[in-house]
Structure formats: structure tokens, C-alpha cells
């Protein structure tokens, strides 16, 4: 996500280690890496530098020579110092002698396939060192090859055509014999493609993370693959080192040598591509010309194409991006649901359709024909699922091509555009582009209103897009205009999110019902002569006493008890119904008559009397409960529960169900109670079906797509349920 550019990404360098000759600095790109001045730390180190200035003249040593400090190391030709030392321009990189860099950048085996992050203030080097396997042979057995193959670019949906001429045993054997002599003398024990960075302090971590996982690791792995299969890195390194040695003798200019190397060595060329592409935030396509064929892995730092929430005012990196929660709000369930993405997303090409088709036609690969077909079919108004229904392409093809286009940044996936949906000017749009885009807009749609007028139209009052187009005949054009605006991040869809509201009337009804059910159980047990009963009342005591006067008393012999007393008793009554046997803990009731004969008859009768008292009390309470319940107003369904302001509902506030999918216990009863309120059968069954979307994460606009319904139908249902929904709208 971090922004890599040529200010914080300075260079790439390949360093190898050899069994006999030791480390070597093979190649770096760009050719001139200036020494960094210690910019951002100045104030801290003034004193330190005072000391260090005295030592800055390097200890006398024939080879160190004068530092090319005065020109920042940017020199193209060789020169000879007064002492007669030849200074070779490529032997200083970023202000350091390349020879020393070679030593410090060839870490020991513990760093094999680990992140290696060395800061030589202010230069920051990161890499992913690759060592030769412990057995000293780069070549892997057949079995292992497969595994590595997958590793090259695991994120790349369309693995590049790795045209491998299947190992020609004789040829490789011959090649081996030729080089075996040389390999005996010295061979490569490790290589390391190092990335030189100069990050600003606050961005360092993010920069390292994104560069390491997306680029450093993958390129080094690709090199490892080529090395394992055809000794590519070692062979190329030897060539480059030899060429450099020769150029040193010939005093060849650095620019000439570098040009030559990049032309002749596909390894050097690949490093050049990595630097040039990645520092411009493009996709780097390597071209490794190995003996076994050409390898073309590609790497990139994925660019974000959307943000879920408004970025901070000063966050320029995310300005102008498409603002949407359609990706961020996806739950794991949704992602796992087969077909979810196909139904909810469509392809929006980031470039002109004709231009892309023309480019595809240039390529004579057999798959391009169906790809062209895909580009023609996949409109931003048509979901992938619908494209798959066209019988021209299978859904698998559609998915594959869509991923291909998205990987290559030629398209993004968006929820299908629809004239009934509401689109607003995106609060994240990049207004600095307005003058230019207004001009482009005019060119693309000469007859349409000017861009600023159109944006004003969209932003004044959010309304379905179709109301903006003057007639039905204009709609296809207006949808193309909408796609254009989406592409530029000018607009975003205004979606509606819902939660279920349970109105007091429903709350009361469900509580009343539950109480009645419990009393039903209790009464039956009382009738059966059992001494105890349970009841848990959810009703608060105040409400009960207020409304008791309204109720018609059926058992007036027990006056309502004061609330605090009642509560106490409730607590006592929280024991299970067959408390007789179970809840009497031995400690409170003493030894039982059957087990101990020492218990006197008096004690026994006292115990019995006590139990009887408890039973009577419980009985009375149950009766009280029933009375209280009976005195309550029985729930009366009204046609509009939201407007019901009957006095018995006064103490209740509406309840919001956050996720109907997870509703359990009471909440599920609320949902059922709401369902009963719908007179219309369609609405009632619709409620069961659509409930799951009222979790504040699913845009109601997309229900129709998901359920394969007509939009009108879906909206009719939702309108019918409107009273029970809390709505909020954003992108």
C-alpha cells in the first residue's frame, strides 16, 4: 500500500558469495547511486559529527582511494588519483566501496530465506538472501521442482507461460561437464538481490513491508528457481563480472558498460526492469533468458483501487480512489458462499474498450479471442454471473479473465451499475483533476451537459440515477457516462443499510406471551400438588404496580406485594422446580431421616412443617404472579406498532436487533412476532428470506441480485417492511 517512488527506492544490487573467491558485487541499477547525505537526523547528531569529521579521512590504504565525495559518486569515467590509483566509477555505490558492500550484504546461512534488513544510516538495505542447499548443489530433484514452481508468483492468477523445454538430459550433462572444472575452483554459495531504500521515518515500516512481501521475496524466489533449473544466476553473474573486469582494464565508461550489460545479460536487464517498473509503481515483467527457456514472472505492489472510509484530509495517496464498502463489508460467510462474488460484482474496464480490444488483437495467443469476447460482454452493468449465463463463456472463464484483467490493472470489480440505484458525488473525488477531466468528459460525451453541471445535478439531492437521464432512450448513454465517472472516482453509490427495530408493542407482546407460557407450566405444577413452582418475570416491578389497577382481578384475595419484597422472593424462587429433592443441600437441612436414625420425631415434624411453609409460600407467590399477570393489559396488536403510545408501553424503548442471523432466544421470538404482523403472505415469507440482510452490512440495493429477484419485487417487499427497519445510508 505504501507509495514506492524513485525518492525512497534508490537502487537494486545483486551480490553473490563464492566458495573460494568470496563475496562479489555483481551488478547494480541504476548505475549511479549517489551517496546519501544524512538529511533527517542532522539536528540530533551535530556533536557526533564534530567528532567524526576528524576521522572522515579514511585510514590510509592503497585501495580505498579518495572518496568521490565532491561529486556525490556520480562519475561516468575512470580517473587516476595523484597517488596513481585508478578509480573505477562502478566501484562506489551509494557512497560505499562496492567491495565492502559485497561483504556486508552476504549474510550467513541463518538468514537464508529470511528478511535481511540492514540500515547503514541513512541507507536502508532489505533483501531475502538465498543460500545453496546444505548439500552444496543448486539443482533440485524432480519432486521438489514442482513446489518451487508454485512459489514463483503465488499471487499471480495467470501464471506466466513458463516455456520450459522439458529437461533435455544429454544437453544438460554436456553443459555440466564443460563447467565442472570451473565450478570446482569456485562456485556460488549464495546470492542476494538487495534493495536500497531511503525511506522517510514515518513510512519506513510500511514501505519495507510492502516491498518485501510483494517484490523482494518474489524476485529472489524467481531467481532461485532459475538458478535451480539452469544455474542462471551464477552463469550470468560470471559473465557480468568478467565484462566488468575487462571494462576496468579498458577504462570503459560506465554508461557504455551498463548499456552493454543490460543488452547482453537478461539478468542485468531484469534488475533494470525491476527498478524502473517498481519505482514508477508499475508491474515489472522479468524476462529471464535461461538455458531451459524463457522465464517471465511478473511482480508488482498491488495498488489499492478503493477505500472503505474517507481518508484523512492530508492523505494524498488515497485521494481520488473509489469510495466503497462493497469489499470491506464482506463477511467471511459471504466470501465462502459460492457465487456470492459473481452475483455482486461486474467488470469496469479502466481504459477504453476499443483500445483494450485493439491491444488484445495484436497478441496472437489463442486465448485472446475469447478474451476479446469477454471484454465485449462484460459490461459494468452486468454481473459476472450474468455474463456466465450468456452461453458464450463459462463462468470459470469469466472469473479467470476478470482476475487477469484486474491483476494487470486494466479493470476493477464493482457492484453492477443500475439506473435505479442512487449515485452521489464521491466525497473522496480528486478535485484537482476537475479542469482536465471536465475537458476529457466533454470530448468523450460531446452532447452531455458539462461535467461540473452534471456533478451538481448528482449532488444536489440524492435520487435514483434514472431520474437524471432525460428519457429512456438516453439511458444506455447515461450509463456509459456513469461508468466513466466511476472510473475516475467521481461518483460512488449511495447504499442503504438496515437493522431490525423491535417496537415496544412487539416487546410487550412477546414478554406477555412468555410470561403466560411460564405461568401455564407453573399452574399445572401447582395443581398437581407439587409444592414449588418457578417463574421468572422480566417485567419490572414498577411497571407492574402501575398497571395493576387497569387489570381485571381474577384472584383478589392476595393483595399485590411491595416490589422489593417480591424481588427478594423471586430470588429465592430461582431454584429448579423439583427443588424438593435436589436443592436441599445437606448443610442447610441436616442429615436425612432415612440415613440417620438418630433424628428425633420432633425434629422430623419440624422439618416437615418447614417444608410445608415453603411450599405454601411458593404457592402463594405463584398465585400472586398469576394475578399480576392477569392484571396486566393484554397486548393489543395495532396496525402501526411504531405509533402505538398506549400507557402500558411507556417504560419500554425500542430494541435494535444487530444481526438477525445470530438472533437467538428472545430476539428470535421478536422476529417471529414481527413476521406474524404482516397480513400479506408474500411479505411474511419475504421477511424470513430477507431478515438476514438487515445486519447493517448488506446494501439493500444488492438483495435483488443476490436473491435473483426482480428489483421491483425486492423493493416492494422492503417497503412493506419499512416500519420495522432502521435505515442509514452511505457508500
Amino acid at each position: 500500500m505504501s507509495c514506492v517512488n524513485d525518492e525512497n527506492f534508490l537502487a537494486v544490487a545483486l551480490v553473490i558469495n563464492r566458495s573460494r573467491d568470496g563475496p562479489a558485487f555483481v551488478f547494480h541499477y541504476p548505475s549511479h547511486v549517489p551517496a546519501l547525505t544524512n538529511g533527517h537526523e542532522k539536528s540530533d547528531v551535530i556533536d557526533v559529527e564534530d567528532i567524526l569529521f576528524e576521522q572522515i579521512a579514511p585510514p590510509s590504504g592503497a585501495e580505498n582511494g579518495p572518496e568521490p565525495a565532491e561529486d556525490g559518486g556520480v562519475r561516468d569515467d575512470h580517473y587516476t588519483t595523484e597517488a596513481g590509483v585508478q578509480v573505477v566509477p562502478w566501484e562506489h555505490v551509494a557512497g560505499f566501496p562496492a567491495r565492502d558492500l559485497a561483504y556486508i550484504l552476504t549474510p550467513a546461512r541463518p538468514y537464508h530465506k529470511k528478511i535481511f534488513q540492514l540500515s547503514l544510516d541513512p541507507l536502508l538495505c532489505i533483501s531475502y538472501p538465498i543460500h545453496v542447499p546444505e548439500n552444496g548443489k543448486w539443482k533440485k530433484t524432480k519432486k521438489a521442482n514442482k513446489e518451487v514452481d508454485d512459489n514463483i508468483a503465488p499471487d499471480e492468477p495467470n501464471p506466466p507461460p513458463t516455456s520450459k523445454t522439458d529437461s533435455n538430459p544429454e544437453k544438460t550433462k554436456d553443459g555440466k561437464r564443460d563447467e565442472s572444472d570451473e565450478d570446482k575452483r569456485s562456485s556460488m554459495t549464495m546470492f542476494n538481490l538487495v534493495f536500497f531504500l531511503d525511506p522517510k521515518r514515518h513510512e519506513a515500516k510500511e514501505l519495507v513491508d510492502s516491498l518485501f512481501s510483494n517484490i523482494v521475496k518474489k524476485v529472489n524466489k524467481a531467481y532461485q528457481y532459475s538458478q535451480q533449473h539452469s544455474e542462471f544466476v551464477w552463469k550470468e553473474s560470471k559473465r557480468i563480472l568478467a565484462a566488468k573486469e575487462k571494462a576496468r582494464e579498458d577504462k570503459k565508461k560506465m554508461s557504455a558498460l551498463w548499456k552493454e550489460l543490460i543488452q547482453n545479460s537478461s539478468l542485468a536487464a531484469s534488475m533494470c526492469e525491476v527498478y524502473n517498473a517498481i519505482s514508477q509503481n508499475r508491474i515489472a515483467t522479468l524476462h529471464l533468458d535461461t538455458v531451459d527457456g524463457i522465464l517471465t514472472p511478473s511482480v508488482q505492489i498491488p495498488v489499492p483501487f478503493f477505500v472503505a472510509d474517507l481518508p484523512a484530509e492530508d492523505d494524498e495517496r488515497h485521494r481520488g480512489l473509489w469510495l466503497t464498502t462493497s469489499n470491506a463489508f464482506l463477511s467471511q460467510d459471504a466470501l465462502e458462499e459460492p457465487g456470492f462474488l459473481d452475483r455482486n460484482f461486474a467488470l469496469l474496464l479502466m481504459d477504453d474498450e476499443k483500445k483494450i480490444i485493439a491491444e488484445l488483437q495484436n497478441d496472437r495467443d489463442p486465448t485472446t479471442l475469447s478474451m476479446i469476447e469477454f471484454v465485449r460482454l462484460a459490461k459494468p452493468t452486468v454481473s459476472f454471473y450474468q455474463v456466465g449465463q450468456s452461453n458464450i463463456l463459462t463462468l470459470d472463464q469469466v472469473r479467470k479473465y476478470a482476475q487477469h484483467f484486474i491483476f494487470w490493472r486494466r479493470a476493477i470489480a464493482i457492484p453492477p451499475l443500475h439506473p435505479r440505484d442512487v449515485y452521489i458525488v464521491s466525497p473522496n473525488c480528486d478535485l484537482e483533476r476537475l479542469p482536465q477531466d471536465a475537458q476529457d468528459w466533454q470530448r468523450a460525451f460531446p452532447l452531455a451537459p458539462p461535467l461540473s453541471t452534471f456533478l451538481a445535478e448528482l449532488s444536489v439531492l440524492p435520487r435514483p440515477y434514472k431520474h437524471i437521464s432525460p428519457s429512456k432512450a438516453h439511458r444506455p448513454l447515461y450509463l456509459r457516462m456513469l461508468a466513466w465517472l466511476m472510473r475516475g472516482g467521481w461518483v460512488t453509490q449511495l447504499c442503504t443499510f438496515a437493522y431490525v427495530v423491535v417496537w415496544p408493542e412487539i416487546l410487550y407482546e412477546v414478554d406477555y406471551e412468555m410470561e403466560a407460557e411460564e405461568l401455564g407450566i407453573a399452574t399445572s405444577s401447582v395443581d398437581g400438588g407439587d409444592a414449588t413452582s418457578i417463574h421468572t418475570t422480566q417485567e419490572n416491578a414498577d411497571a407492574q404496580s402501575t398497571h395493576s389497577s387497569l387489570a381485571s382481578p381474577t384472584q383478589p384475595q392476595h393483595p399485590p406485594q411491595p416490589p422489593h419484597q417480591q424481588q427478594q422472593q423471586q430470588q429465592q424462587q430461582q431454584t429448579p422446580p423439583d427443588a424438593h429433592a435436589l436443592s436441599q443441600s445437606p448443610s442447610s437441612h441436616g442429615p436425612k431421616p432415612s440415613t440417620t436414625t438418630t433424628l428425633s420425631a420432633a425434629e422430623h415434624s419440624a422439618e416437615m412443617a418447614r417444608l410445608e411453609r415453603i411450599a405454601i409460600k411458593a404457592h402463594r407467590e405463584a398465585a400472586d404472579k398469576a394475578t399480576a399477570h392477569a392484571r396486566k393489559t393484554s397486548p393489543v396488536p395495532t396496525p402501526n406498532p411504531s405509533l402505538n403510545d398506549a400507557p402500558h408501553l411507556a417504560g419500554l424503548t425500542p430494541h435494535i436487533i444487530l444481526d438477525p442471523k445470530k438472533a437467538a432466544g428472545k430476539e428470535s421470538r421478536y422476529l417471529a412476532a414481527i413476521a406474524r404482523r404482516f397480513r400479506d403472505d408474500k411479505l411474511r415469507s419475504g421477511w424470513q428470506l430477507l431478515c438476514k440482510y438487515f445486519d447493517g452490512r448488506c446494501a439493500l440495493e444488492r438483495i435483488a441480485l443476490q436473491e435473483d429477484m426482480k428489483r421491483k419485487e425486492a423493493w416492494a417487499l422492503l417497503t412493506g417492511m419499512r416500519e420495522y427497519l432502521l435505515l442509514t445510508r452511505h457508500w
Binding site: K114, T325, P427, L434, A438, S452, A456, S459, R697
Partner: protein, 447 residues
């Protein structure tokens, strides 16, 4: 948190070696300074790069008093602790292969003929967790390098202690205990002040590193996050004091500058300073005519994450009764683009809720903005003619033309025009109508 601190030296015969460390055994297996000999043998072995050294050191470890095994492998890392000379005299950090730790160091070379091989190479380094913010520790490492390099040059503090051994110089603190104090004080207090000898004191403090705050604009409204009256004292910068006194959560920066009799630019700098220390928030100017709309953070409000609704109730209620959570949620969720606060209030009034008598509307809106539930929908004015001239590159600001023209490129919202021109919304709109442009050239849009 400093996990380890060490003093490493390059010995002409034995190579790089850890001379002192705290806690003992964090870098190389060691007992206290008495075990020095033993220890040097051990690291001597390892410099020859035989693979057995790790096993021998762990062997050694079991015999010695310390039972901590080293956190890192010195054999692997010594190359970065005492690097080649080209890399000396600079701050160097390296991660351990397991990615758990980072070693921060500043290898110093002091060339002088009095030393064997004509140079003295040492490094005072720290071992910290790889995940922690290393910026504060960098200055610690620099300070240690600076102080000890200076002391070595003044009176051979480091090299003499090697020669004599600690017992000869009873006046002086052994380096190991010095390091321990540094580590403990920095970990516990974030600063240390340790006299090393008669002339030198190590003074260090860990300063947290804050990101550069955004630029403050005239139309921003600062809202205090701390109780300024409690922390302001007379030693503060006078301008800052004046500005802080006027921060009330309602006034914009321009107004604050005016009321505090401070120039606008100074007021902006002062407020940015407060922003750097995260003591204020910046909001927009509140008008009943402006429009706010929900953003995805609204769902946290609806779900009452971390009791946010209760917090809101406490902040906005001003009637006799606390407004119920349900109502607050409903109010917050009912903002919408294209609906001004005035209209929003009217809508609720039509539904029978007189919002004004229950909640403080400004506080309610500001609460929503601060918590990321709402965003301000800004109003922009655009002139097509001006846009076209910008696109073709022949921007022609009319000589002596209207000062408002430059605002009509779509990059300046109404708040900016109003604060910079000291006009009200209506005045701006009236003035724009008088611009000498064709009919329908000026459009207004909201974003």
C-alpha cells in the same frame, strides 16, 4: 523497551568481542566480568567460523553462573556490530535472522598511532524488540557513541580500563554496571543522568516520535482534547498561551487569531504545535445550513461499540431527561447527503421530536464527526469558463478582477472562501452572481 545493552570491541588478536553486556548473557554467553577470560576464549573460537562454536558456547553456558541463553547469535551478527571500516562511524541497525530482535549500534573507529594496528574500534549497542519503534533508541545509541568516543579521546577511558582491569581503578564504575544503570533507567523512567567520571555525565531521554501533523487552515476549528488550564504554565510561549485561551470548540482559527490578537500565520503554527502533541482535534465550522452525512463508522454507533452511545448521551443531553439510546441512534443514522441540519431538524419535528429541547445539536454533530460516524458535505462553486481556461493552460486571472474568481476551480470549499474573504455564505453567493461570466457558468455542487 531495551532488552539488552552491550559494549563490543575489536581486538587486534581476538577479533570482535562483547566486553560488557546487560543483562549478562543477552548477546554472548557470559558470567560477570570475572568470567571474561573464559568468555574471550569462547568468542575467539567463534571468529574462526567453526560451526561448533554455538554448541561450545551453550556448553560453556551451562557451566557459568548465568543461565540465560543468548537472545541472538553473536557469530552471525558480529559482522554488523563491528563492521568493515567503510561502515563505521554511522548508525547501523540489523534484524536478527529469526526476525524477533533488532540490534542498534554505532560502531566508532578512532585512528591513532598509540593503538595497536593504529586504531581503536568499539560499539555501544542496544538489543530491542523488532516490532518496537526504534526512533527513540537511535538517539540513545548516538549519544553513547558520542560520549565514549570523546572520553576515549580525552583520557583513554575505554582502552585504559582494558589494560588495567577494573580493580586497579577503584574510583571508576565498571562499564558493565554503567550499562545496566542506563538500561534500567531508560526502561523505567525513560531518561537517565549518570556521572561517568569527574568530567562526563551521560544525559539521555527517550523522545517519542510523532508524525508530522497536517497543515492548519484558517477554517479549521480546534477542539481541545486535554484540559489546557491544568497544563498551561507561564513558561509557555506567549503566543501559544494566547491562542490556547481562545480554543473553545466553536471558533475557527481565523477567529481565534483575531480574538487573541495574534497574526493568523502564528496562530496556525501554534495550533499545529498542539496538534503535534495530539492535544487538539481539528473540525469544520458548524452551521445549521451545512450538511452532514453518515460514513461507515455510523455502524459502531448503532451497535453501541464501547458504549459510544452512552458517551454521546452524556455529551449532548441538556434537557431534564437523558435521551434514550434508541433515539440517539435514530437521530445519528438519519443524516443524509443533500439534507442540511436545518432540514434534518425539521424532519424530526414533523415526526414529533423537538430535537432542540433534548440535545445540543452542535455537540451532537461534532460528536458524530469526531467519532467518525459523520462527515461534512462541503459546498463548492465552479465556473466552467475558469475550468476550461485552466485545462488549456491559459489561465487568465482577470487583471484587477474579482478576488473570488480563483476560488471557482472546484478546489476550494465555501468555508475556505468565507474565512479567507471574511464574508458570509450569502455575501459570497451574491458576489459570485456579479462575476462577469455568461449565464449558467457558475454551478454549485456538494461533496
Amino acid at each position: 523497551m531495551i532488552l539488552g545493552i552491550f559494549y563490543a570491541r575489536f581486538f587486534p588478536q581476538e577479533g570482535p568481542k562483547i566486553v560488557a553486556q546487560s543483562p549478562p548473557g543477552c548477546i554472548t554467553a557470559s558470567s560477570s566480568s570475572s568470567g571474561n577470560n573464559n568468555n574471550s576464549n569462547n568468542s575467539n573460537n567463534s571468529t574462526h567460523g567453526n560451526n561448533n562454536s554455538s554448541s561450545s558456547s551453550s556448553n560453556n553456558n551451562s557451566h557459568s553462573h548465568s543461565n540465560n541463553s543468548p537472545l541472538v547469535d553473536f557469530d552471525v551478527l558480529q559482522e554488523y556490530i563491528i563492521p568493515r571500516q567503510a561502515f563505521c562511524n554511522r548508525f547501523i541497525s540489523i534484524n536478527s535472522p529469526d526476525g524477533k530482535y533488532t540490534i542498534l549500534g554505532f560502531p566508532v573507529v578512532i585512528p591513532h598511532t598509540k593503538y595497536m594496528r593504529n586504531e581503536f574500534i568499539f560499539n555501544f549497542g542496544l538489543l530491542v524488540d523488532a516490532e518496537c519503534d526504534q526512533a527513540p533508541f537511535e538517539s540513545v545509541v548516538r549519544c553513547l557513541a558520542e560520549t565514549f568516543a570523546e572520553m576515549e579521546k580525552q583520557n583513554e577511558y575505554l582502552s585504559l580500563s582494558e589494560a588495567k582491569g577494573p580493580e586497579d581503578d577503584s574510583m571508576r564504575r565498571p562499564i558493565e554496571s554503567l550499562l545496566e544503570i542506563v538500561k534500567e533507567d531508560l526502561n523505567n523512567y525513560g531518561e537517565c543522568m549518570i556521572p561517568v567520571d569527574e568530567a562526563n555525565i551521560i544525559n539521555m531521554k527517550l523522545f517519542p516520535h510523532h508524525a508530522t501533523p497536517p497543515v492548519v487552515k484558517g477554517w479549521h476549528v480546534p477542539v481541545a482534547r486535554t484540559k489546557f488550564p491544568e497544563i498551561v504554565d507561564p513558561t509557555w510561549d506567549i503566543t501559544l498561551q494566547k491562542v490556547v485561551a481562545k480554543i473553545d470548540g466553536v471558533s475557527d482559527v481565523r477567529r481565534i487569531a483575531h480574538e487573541a490578537s495574534v497574526s493568523l500565520d502564528l496562530a496556525k503554527i501554534a495550533i499545529r504545535h498542539l496538534l503535534y502533541y495530539d492535544t487538539i482535534l481539528l473540525l469544520d465550522i458548524f452551521f445549521f445550513s451545512s450538511c452532514y452525512a453518515p460514513r461507515p463508522g455510523i455502524h459502531d454507533f448503532i451497535r453501541n461499540v464501547d458504549g459510544i452511545v452512552d458517551e454521546c448521551a452524556g455529551y449532548v443531553s441538556h434537557g431534564r431527561a437523558r435521551v434514550s439510546n434508541y433515539l440517539l441512534i435514530r437521530f445519528m443514522a438519519s443524516f443524509s447527503p443533500g439534507k442540511s441540519i436545518k432540514e434534518w431538524i425539521m424532519n424530526h419535528r414533523d415526526n414529533g421530536f423537538e430535537l432542540m429541547s433534548y440535545i445540543d445539536i452542535r455537540r451532537f454533530v461534532q460528536f458524530g464527526v469526531i467519532k467518525g460516524c459523520l462527515y461534512r458535505v462541503h459546498k463548492y462553486v465552479v465556473s466552467k469558463q475558469y475550468l476550461a481556461s485552466l485545462a488549456t493552460g491559459q489561465s487568465r486571472p482577470l487583471a484587477g478582477g474579482d478576488p473570488l474568481q480563483k476560488y471557482t476551480d472546484g478546489c476550494h470549499h465555501m468555508d475556505q472562501i468565507m474565512t479567507e474573504q471574511n464574508l458570509t455564505n450569502d455575501q459570497v453567493m451574491d458576489r459570485l452572481k456579479m462575476l462577469p461570466v455568461p449565464r449558467g457558468d457558475i454551478t454549485v455542487f456538494y461533496r
